[in-house]
């Protein structure tokens, strides 16, 4: 989707256990939901 929107050079960081220990942990585990950092540049 980023590339379709005119971004290039997409980088993705390590997965972070965003919901571990929170009330939403069970749902997060069920669908393997993690937080990620993304970086991309606007194409010229």
């Amino acid at each position: 989707m980023l590339q379709d929107s005119g971004f290039i050079g997409v980088e993705i960081g390590e997965a972070v256990d965003t919901f571990g220990g929170a009330k939403g942990e069970d749902n997060a585990r069920a669908f393997e939901v993690y937080g990620y950092a993304f970086m991309a540049h606007r194409s010229t």
């Binding site: 989707m1 929107s5 971004f7 919901f19 993690y34 540049h41």
Partner: protein
Amino acid sequence: MAEDLLVDPEALRAQVRGKYREVAVDPGASFHFHTGRDLARRLGYDAAAVGTLPDRAVESFAGVGNPFSLRPLAPGEKVVDVGSGAGFDSFIAAGQVGPRGQVVGVDMTPEMLAKSRHTAEALGLAHAEFREGLAEALPVEDDWADVVISNGVINLCADKQAVFAEIRRVLRPGGRLQFADIANGRPVPVAAMRDIDLWTG
């Protein structure tokens, strides 16, 4: 509603406003996600930078990752924070870009905006301001930003393509998008994705 969207954008916005109004006015309440300083530690934010911020700048933080982890911002950069909430990431950004830079936070929840504006004033941050607006219609001129940041916001927008197009509009050519968000490793059933109550927990 556009046929290819899973939920009605305005209904989802109302749901999101309600949830994050709670986070703004009662950050100590129990949510399905972590908040505040504990969350900032969990997500790997720079402890020294977070430690300089007062509680009101941190307590309503509800991000899902660290948009600064892949690359810190540079002094003098102009930054837009999409869905700035109570301003935590904007204040971290303001520290990184310094007084020669500029930070514009954009949020749609009045209680979050009031909180971020009050904190910026209390901190004397003349180079950070907060504007009311939507991720799909940012109140920022074309090609203005060197960097757009966002944290846990785009997944709460019904039309993500529209959000990315708007972010591209406000970025200068070659500018960077640095955002954090959630992604699932297993497919979520379509019926669940159409259930608006599940979008905000």
